[in-house]
């Protein structure tokens, strides 16, 4: 048994620790995106950052030892994510057949990401009235966030959006990233 896990087991009881590790694994698996300590804590009913970090660390180590296709990694801002090891991605990528979004909502999302913070009126102006439905769907999926400011609604993308497309959480940096990738992409092919 791993030293860290052993230390935890001695302190909290083996069965309890195994259950908590499994719950953290369950949360990371189901979310498919980075989760912060608070969210992980809410799953195991704990507010002790130290304890949550220790448990997640132990799980990370366990995954390392298993040496399989999945890994749990810690991001800079104390968030953890379960993911497929990069080396396996090319072989199985084609099995992902369901898009996150259909074309219409994806267009609306891309426009918001590029122009954010952007007023709902402008989005509807550019994307048409059917975009009201897109906005609802995007909000439900946790990709955008709408805030009422005065008489208008202002829309921004969420952290989940940034995580999904591996973009920065900082809006300015994200827009620069998008512009630079977009610039490269928009160049005519040689």
């Amino acid at each position: 048994m791993e030293v860290r896990e052993q230390e935890l087991s001695e302190r909290f009881g083996l069965e309890k620790v195994r259950r908590k590790l499994a719950l953290i694994e369950a949360a990371l698996y189901v979310a498919g995106r980075p989760l912060d300590l608070k969210t992980l804590g809410s799953v195991i009913n704990s507010r002790s950052k130290r304890k949550i970090k220790m448990l997640t660390g132990a799980l990370m180590k366990e995954f390392e030892n298993r040496n399989t296709a999945l890994e749990i990694i810690e991001l800079e801002d104390e968030r953890f994510v379960m993911q497929l090891k990069a080396e396996y991605t090319p072989r199985v990528r084609r099995l992902a057949i369901r898009p996150l979004l259909t074309v219409g909502p994806l267009k609306t999302l891309s426009y918001i990401a590029y122009r954010q913070p952007v007023s709902q009126t402008r989005v509807i102006d550019v994307r048409g009235h059917h975009a009201y439905n897109h906005l609802k769907q995007l909000e439900e999926l946790g990709l955008i966030h709408r805030e009422r400011i005065g008489r208008t609604k202002v829309i921004e993308t969420t952290e989940f959006f940034a995580d999904y497309f591996s973009l920065s959480h900082d809006m300015r940096t994200m827009k620069k990233q998008l512009k630079s990738i977009f610039g490269e992409f928009a160049k005519p092919e040689s």
């Binding site: 057949i97 267009k107 990401a113 590029y114």
Partner: protein
């Protein structure tokens, strides 16, 4: 029966049921023989030679009430019996869908493709001349606005003069009198000119109720068009 001394006979059983209606709630209406009660009540009263019409009235009233209760019971018997309630069906607990992570196929490349399309669309409306909302065409009875304004002074003067003609000693005119012989459109025009007059304090308008007659009071005797009558 010392306790009943002084009390009329009908407060004793079996007739008391007709005079103490609260007791009716405790008996089954079917157990009350109205015919017997009423007949024996009349016989007893005749026997005693003390005819009390008020008591007879109460007895009749109570009998009809008992009769009504019997009828209601009969009707109730006619109703089909309520079907026995089926035992509530077993409601299994919700089936939670198994949770499976699924890698979705949307990549940043797709996002950028979509963005390219959208930005093209965004430029298009910018190129198109923006359509201003079109005002509905002015009603045909209104001449072009500047012509109308040029003429308004003349119109006001004309109307003021006719008001003077119609006004009584108290300088009061009723609106219906001025427009009595006018076409509908002309009447509307007259009313608008009247509003101009009111706005420049040449007349004051009042009404007792909404949609009732409009009364016009002339504020000055001098006709418009004289000196210092710059209107508007």
């Amino acid at each position: 029966m010392s306790s009943t001394v002084g009390k009329p006979f009908y407060f004793q059983p079996p007739w008391n049921i007709l005079f103490e209606l609260h007791k009716l709630r405790k008996v089954r209406p079917w157990d009350v023989n109205i015919a017997f009660l009423l007949t024996s009540f009349v016989e007893e009263m005749e026997k005693r030679g003390d005819v009390d019409f008020r008591a007879s009235g109460v007895a009749l009233d109570s009998s009809s009430l008992i009769y009504l209760m019997k009828s209601k019971l009969l009707l109730k018997l006619e109703e089909p019996p309520a079907p026995p309630k089926p035992p509530p069906d077993f409601l299994p607990p919700p089936l939670f869908l198994p949770l499976r992570y699924e890698l979705t196929s949307t990549t940043i490349q797709h996002l950028l493709d979509a963005l390219d399309e959208v930005l093209k669309g965004e430029r298009l409306p910018a190129l198109k001349p923006r359509l201003e909302p079109i005002l509905p065409p002015p009603p045909e009875f209104l001449p072009p606005i500047d012509l109308y304004l040029m003429e308004i002074e003349k119109q006001m003067e004309k109307l003021y003069r006719s008001l003077l003609r119609f006004a009584d000693k108290e300088r009061l005119v009723v609106f219906s009198k001025i427009v009595a012989e006018l076409e509908k459109l002309e009447a509307v025009k007259t009313f608008i000119v009247l509003l101009f007059l009111a706005q420049s304090d040449k007349v004051s308008l009042w009404q007792e109720e909404n949609f009732s007659e409009i009364y016009i009071t002339l504020c000055e005797v001098q006709p418009i068009g004289g000196q210092g009558t710059g209107i508007i």
